[in-house]
Amino acid sequence: MSPPVLSLATLRKSVPGGRVLFEGLNLDVAPGEIVAIMGESGVGKSTLLNLIAGLDQADSGGVAIDGVRLESLDDDGRTRMRRDRIGFVFQAFHILPHLTLAQNVALPLVLQNIDGAAATARATAILASIGLPNRAGDRPSQLSGGELQRVALARALVHRPALVLADEPTGNLDPETAARILDLFVAEVRGSGAAAILVTHSERAAAVADRILNLTAAGLVHAG
C-alpha cells in the first residue's frame, strides 16, 4: 500500500476566545482518493483546509504532505509546498481579472519558474481539455460562473499536484452547472492521479467522493 499523500495526526485547533473547533483529529488520504468533508457552518471546515494548506497553524498535532511535516517548515517552506504539491479550487473562483484565462491557469507553473511560453501552452491545452478551447486569450469578465470554475479547476491541476483542496467548489453555481462541474472535477482529478479533499455542504456534491466524513468537535467521523 502506498504511503498517504496527506496525514493529519491528533490535530487540535481553537479560535481566539478559547472555543475549541476540534481536537484529536486524525486522517490519512491515499493517492488518488477523493475525500468529502461535511459539517455545519462554523464547525471549522475551512479552518481545517487552511491547516492542511499551511495557511494556518494548529494548537497541537501534525500535518504531513507526502511525508513532510508542515510544522517543520518555515513560512517560505510551507509556501513552496503549496506551490509544488497542492492545487486549490475556491467557491468564489478567484480568477484574476486583469490576466487572460491562459495566464490565470499558468500561474502555478510560472511561480515554479517554468518558462512563460511553455506554461501558457500547457495552460491552453488543459483549458481545451475542460471544455474551453480557443478561449486562452479571453479575459475573465467574458465568462459565466460555470466557465470561471472550469478555469479554476484547470489552474488547480495544471502543475500536477499531489493534493487538490476544494472549498465549496459548487457553492456559487446553479444546480445544473454545479452537477456538470462536479463531474468534470472528479474526472480531471482522477485523471491526474491526485488526491482531493472536497469541503461541501451539499450531499449531492459529497456523493462523488470515495469517502464522506463529518467534521465535529470530536474530530472526523464517517457519514452514512
Binding site: S46, N50, A53, L55, D56, D66, G67, V68, L73, D75, D76, G77, T79, R80, M81, R82, R83, D84, R85, F88, F90, A92, F93, H94, I95, L96, P97, H98, L99, Q103, L107, P108, V110, L111, Q112, N113, D115, G116, A119, R155
Partner: protein
C-alpha cells in the same frame, strides 16, 4: 522531501504588473508624473545653480587672472598708489601688476537699469600684466570677429585705444577699429576699439586700457583699486601673505583665489541651498503621492495577493512585486523628470538668468553645464522617493495572512479601534526641537530637518487627526441617509482617509508654509519701503558724485523742498565675504530712529569713538552686537567704530553699515554724494523739479542724473521682489497642481475600489443619487479635513521658515502675515476637487449593474 527554493518568477511578476498597469494606467501615470515633477525641479535648479556658479568662477578667474595673490581696496575709492612699489619690493614677490578697476558703461546718458552698466573697466600696465596675469591679455581660441585685425598689445599704449571682451564688444554694438564712448567716475571718454580680449568669460563685459590713461581720464590719479602679485619661485605663500598683511593700510586687504571662491560661494550659497531644498520638498510630495497610490493599489489587490500567496508565491516575492512596481514608477518618473528638468533649465536660463530672478548675476546668461554626477544623483533621488513611498504598502502586502485576506471582502477596519497619535506627535515635537538648533556653516540644515520632521509627523498623525475632526460630526443626529453614511464611513475608517489625505496634506502644507513666508516677507518689505522712502523724488548720479557746490545748487533749485544727500559704496570687511554697502547719510545720533528703521535698543557711542549703525544682515553675518566696537577699514587709517544700533534692511543681503556723513568725510576726506531724496514744494511736479535740478548742474553731470519717483521706486522694488520669488511662485503653483492631482487619483482609486459596497447599497434600496450625494459628502469632508490639517501644519512650518530658515540664510527677520484670500481659494479648490472627483469616480463605479457589482470578487 521539502520543495526546493527557486528564484522569484519574473514571468509571474511581469504578468501581474503589466495586467495591473493596463487596468489602471491613470494611477501609474499620476504617480510617475509626481516623481517626474519633483526630480525635474530639483535637477533644473541644481544645474542652473551649477551653470551660474561656473560662470561666476570663470569670471573671477578672468578678472583676477593668474595672480598668486591680490591686494584689493576695501572700497571703490581705492588705496594710495605708493603701496604698489612697497608690495613689488616685498620679500617673496617676483612681480607686481597695478590695476585701476572702475564700474563703467557704454555711452554718455544715465544707465537705463538700476543696476548700472555692467562694464568693468580695468586700467593695467600691459608689460607688468603680461608677466603676472597673462590670461587676461591672451588671445585664446576666440572665433574670428569681423574687422578684427589681430590682437596688438602695443596698442594699449595708445591713450585712445581700448580692448574689449567679446561680451563687451557685443554690448557696445561696435566693431574693432570703431569709436566707442565709455562713462566711468562721472566722466565720458571716446576710445577706439583696438582688439578683443578672448580670455574673458563668455558673458563678462570687460574693457582694458593703459593704467596711466585710466587714472588721468577718469580722475583716479594716485589711486589704485588692486595690485596683482606673483610669488618668487620657492617662496612660502603663507609666510609671504603674513608679511604683506603687516604692510597693508586699513583700506587694502589681501585676496587669494580661495577667499575669492568663498566670497562667490557665500554670495549665493544660502539662496541656492534654499531653492534646492524647496525643489526637494516637491520630490518629497511626489514620494507621498507614490505612497498614496501604492497603498490604495495594495489595499484593492489584497485578495489578489492573498491568492498568489495561496498558490505559492513567497512573502519576498510579494514584497519584490510591490517594490519593483514602485521602482519602475520611480525610474520612469525620474528619467522623465531629468528630461523635463533639462528643458526647464534651458528655458529658465534663457528667460530668468542664472540666478533664477534672484538678482545675483544680473545681465548674464550662463552656458548650461551638465555633469554625470547630478544626473545620477537626481535619478537615484527619484527612485528612492518612489521606493520609500512603496515600502510601507509592500510590507503591509507581505504581512497579510493569505487565508484571511482571501476571504476579506470588505473593510477590515475596526471602527472602535482608536488611531494612535504618539508617533505623529513625537515627530512633530522632534521637528519643533530641531527648529531651535543653530545653522550649520551658514545653512539652516536643522530648519529644513525640522520641516521634514513636521511633515512626517503631520502625515503620521493623520488617522488620529481625521478621527478627531470627524468625531463632532459623527455625534450629530441626521435625517439624511447619504450624509449619515458618509460621516460614519470616514469616522470608522480613519486609516483609509489618512492614505487619501497624506499626499494632499503634504502638498497643501508646503504650499501654505511657502505662501505665508512670501506674504510675510513681501508685506514687511512693503512697510519697510514706506519707511525708507518717505520723500517725493529720488535721484542719483551713477559715478563721480555731487560735490558741495553741486549740492548747494541743487538745494537752491526751484521747487526743491527738504533734501537729503547720501552716498553708497561697497566696502569689503573680509576678503572671503561679499562686500557690504557703506551708507553715508545724515544720522541723528541722539534719535537714530528718525533717520533709519531701527530694530531694538540703541546705545550712545563713547566720547571720541565714531558711531555706526549696522543693518540686520550685517550684524548677523559679522556677529556684531549693539555696544561693541569694530574696525572700519577705510580712509587709510584703522578707525575703531562703535555699533550704536541695528536697523532693518531688506535690500542688501550682504549687509550695510550706516555712518553719519560728517564722520565719513572726516575719516576719508571724500565729500561727494551720489544719491538724494527730496520733498517737492507745494505746486511743484516731479518733472519740473527734475528739469530745475538738471538746469542747476554742469551739462556733463546733468546728463548722468537719473530721477525716480518714490511711487515708481516702490513699484520697481516690489517688481524685483516678485521676480526674485518667481520660482517660488512657480513651485507653489506646481504644489497646488500636484496636490489636486493627488486628490483626484486617491479619491478615484478609493471610490472605484468600493464598487461592491455600492452594489449592496443599491440592492437594499439606496437610490443612485443618494450614493452620489454620499460620495460627494465624503469627498468634500476629506477635502475639508485636508485643508484644516494642511493649514495647521503649513502654518507651523511657515514659522520655521520665517523665524529659523530666513534669519539663518538671509539674516533678516519679518512679521508673520497670512494671505487669507489664498487660503480661502485653496480651501474652496480642495473641497470642490474632493467632492467633484469622488462624484466622477462614483458615476463610473455605479455604471456597472448592481447585481454584477455584488458578485464581483475584486
Amino acid at each position: 522531501m521539502p520543495a526546493e527554493r527557486r528564484p522569484l518568477s519574473r514571468t509571474a511578476l511581469t504578468w501581474m504588473m503589466v495586467g495591473e498597469w493596463r487596468a489602471h494606467p491613470g494611477r501609474v501615470i499620476t504617480a510617475a508624473l509626481a516623481i517626474a515633477i519633483g526630480v525635474a525641479l530639483g535637477f533644473a535648479v541644481h544645474i542652473i545653480n551649477g551653470s551660474a556658479q561656473n560662470e561666476l568662477a570663470q569670471a573671477v578667474r578672468t578678472v583676477n587672472a593668474d595672480a598668486d595673490l591680490q591686494v584689493h581696496a576695501t572700497t571703490p575709492l581705492g588705496f594710495d598708489e605708493t603701496l604698489y612699489p612697497a608690495l613689488a619690493r616685498a620679500p617673496g614677490i617676483v612681480a607686481a601688476s597695478p590695476v585701476v578697476e572702475l564700474s563703467a558703461r557704454f555711452g554718455t546718458g544715465p544707465s537705463r537699469s538700476l543696476e548700472g552698466g555692467g562694464l568693468t573697466l580695468l586700467g593695467i600696465d600691459p608689460l607688468r600684466a603680461a608677466s603676472v596675469t597673462p590670461t587676461l591679455l591672451s588671445q585664446g581660441a576666440s572665433p574670428p570677429i569681423e574687422g578684427a585685425g589681430g590682437f596688438v598689445p602695443e596698442s594699449l599704449f595708445d591713450p585712445r585705444a581700448i580692448m574689449l571682451s567679446q561680451a563687451a564688444l557685443a554690448a557696445s554694438g561696435r566693431k574693432v577699429g570703431e569709436a566707442v564712448t565709455i562713462t566711468a567716475a562721472g566722466r565720458s571718454v571716446d576710445f577706439v576699439v583696438a582688439g578683443v580680449l578672448s580670455g574673458a568669460a563668455s558673458e563678462q563685459q570687460i574693457a582694458v586700457l593703459d593704467i596711466a590713461t585710466a587714472q588721468w581720464l577718469f580722475g583716479s590719479l594716485g589711486r589704485l583699486q588692486r595690485v596683482d602679485l606673483k610669488f618668487s619661485p620657492g617662496a612660502n605663500p603663507a609666510t609671504v601673505e603674513a608679511s604683506l598683511r603687516d604692510r597693508l593700510p586699513a583700506d587694502a586687504q589681501i585676496v587669494t583665489a580661495q577667499s575669492e571662491a568663498r566670497r562667490g560661494d557665500n554670495l549665493t550659497r544660502a539662496y541656492r541651498a534654499n531653492l534646492e531644498m524647496l525643489a526637494l520638498m516637491a520630490l518629497l510630495t511626489g514620494g507621498f503621492l507614490v505612497y498614496s497610490a501604492q497603498s490604495l493599489s495594495v489595499a484593492r489587490r489584497r485578495p489578489q495577493f492573498a491568492l498568489l500567496r495561496v498558490l505559492g508565491l513567497e512573502r519576498r516575492g510579494l514584497l519584490a512585486q510591490v517594490f519593483v512596481e514602485g521602482a519602475l514608477v520611480g525610474g520612469v518618473g525620474a528619467a522623465l523628470g531629468l528630461a523635463l528638468g533639462l528643458g526647464v533649465a534651458v528655458g529658465t536660463l534663457q528667460f530668468l538668468g542664472g540666478d533664477l530672478g534672484g538678482g545675483y548675476f544680473r545681465g548674464t546668461t550662463p552656458d548650461l553645464v551638465v555633469t554625470p554626477l547630478p544626473v545620477l544623483v537626481f535619478f537615484a533621488l527619484g527612485l528612492v522617493a518612489a521606493l520609500l513611498g512603496s515600502l510601507l504598502p509592500a510590507l503591509e502586502a507581505a504581512r497579510a495572512q493569505p487565508g484571511i485576506a482571501l476571504k476579506d471582502l470588505g473593510d477590515k477596519n475596526d471602527p472602535n479601534a482608536k488611531p494612535a497619535a504618539w508617533l505623529g506627535l513625537a515627530l512633530l515635537a522632534a521637528g519643533g526641537g530641531a527648529a531651535i538648533l543653530p545653522a550649520v556653516r551658514g545653512l539652516p540644515l536643522f530648519g529644513y530637518l525640522s520641516i521634514g520632521l513636521m511633515l512626517a509627523g503631520g502625515v503620521a498623525a493623520m488617522p488620529w487627526l481625521a478621527r478627531v475632526l470627524i468625531t463632532p460630526l459623527q455625534r450629530v443626529g441626521r435625517r439624511n441617509v447619504s450624509i449619515d453614511l458618509a460621516v460614519k464611513r470616514l469616522w470608522g475608517a480613519p486609516d483609509q482617509a489618512a492614505v487619501a489625505l497624506c499626499g494632499i496634506v503634504a502638498s497643501t502644507s508646503l504650499m501654505v508654509a511657502m505662501a505665508v513666508m512670501v506674504a510675510s516677507l513681501r508685506g514687511s518689505v512693503d512697510d519697510w519701503l514706506t519707511e525708507i522712502l518717505p520723500s517725493d523724488l529720488l535721484f542719483r548720479v551713477e559715478s563721480g558724485g555731487f560735490d558741495a557746490e553741486a549740492r548747494a545748487r541743487i538745494a537752491r533749485a526751484p521747487g526743491v523742498g527738504d533734501i537729503l544727500f547720501q552716498r553708497t559704496l561697497p566696502l569689503r570687511l573680509a576678503s572671503d565675504m561679499p562686500p557690504l554697502i557703506l551708507l553715508v547719510r545724515p544720522v541723528d545720533k541722539a534719535k537714530p530712529m528718525a533717520s533709519l528703521p531701527m530694530i531694538g535698543r540703541s546705545a550712545e557711542a563713547p566720547e571720541g569713538v565714531t558711531p555706526v549703525w549696522l543693518s540686520e544682515p550685517a550684524a548677523r553675518l559679522y556677529g556684531h552686537k549693539v555696544g561693541e566696537q569694530m574696525v572700519l577699514p577705510m580712509g587709510g587709517g584703522n578707525p575703531q567704530v562703535f555699533v550704536a544700533g541695528i536697523w532693518r534692511d531688506y535690500a542688501r543681503q550682504s549687509g550695510a553699515i550706516a555712518i553719519d556723513q560728517a564722520d565719513y568725510t572726516r575719516l576719508t576726506g571724500d565729500d561727494r554724494r551720489t544719491e538724494a531724496s527730496l520733498d517737492l514744494k507745494p505746486g511743484t511736479t516731479s518733472v519740473s523739479a527734475a528739469q530745475a535740478i538738471r538746469a542747476a548742474l554742469p551739462p556733463e553731470m546733468a546728463a548722468q542724473v537719473q530721477f525716480f519717483e518714490t511711487r515708481q521706486m516702490r513699484a520697481i522694488a516690489l517688481r524685483l521682489f516678485d521676480s526674485s520669488f518667481a520660482l517660488t511662485y512657480a513651485l507653489e503653483a506646481i504644489a497646488i497642481v500636484v496636490g489636486l492631482a493627488g486628490v483626484a487619483a486617491t479619491f478615484s482609486a478609493q471610490t472605484l475600489a468600493r464598487t461592491k459596497e455600492f452594489g449592496m447599497l443599491r440592492h437594499v434600496g439606496v437610490l443612485r443619487r443618494q450614493i452620489i450625494l454620499m460620495l460627494a459628502t465624503e469627498g468634500a469632508l476629506l477635502g475639508a479635513v485636508g485643508v484644516v490639517s494642511g493649514l495647521a501644519l503649513g502654518l507651523a512650518m511657515s514659522q520655521v521658515l520665517i523665524h529659523v530658515v530666513n534669519p539663518q540664510s538671509f539674516h533678516w527677520t519679518m512679521e508673520t502675515r497670512l494671505p487669507l484670500p489664498l487660503f480661502a481659494s485653496l480651501a474652496i479648490a480642495l473641497v470642490a476637487a474632493g467632492a467633484g472627483t469622488a462624484v466622477l469616480a462614483g458615476r463610473r463605479a455605479l455604471s456597472a449593474d448592481a447585481v454584477r457589482a455584488v458578485r464581483e470578487d475584486w
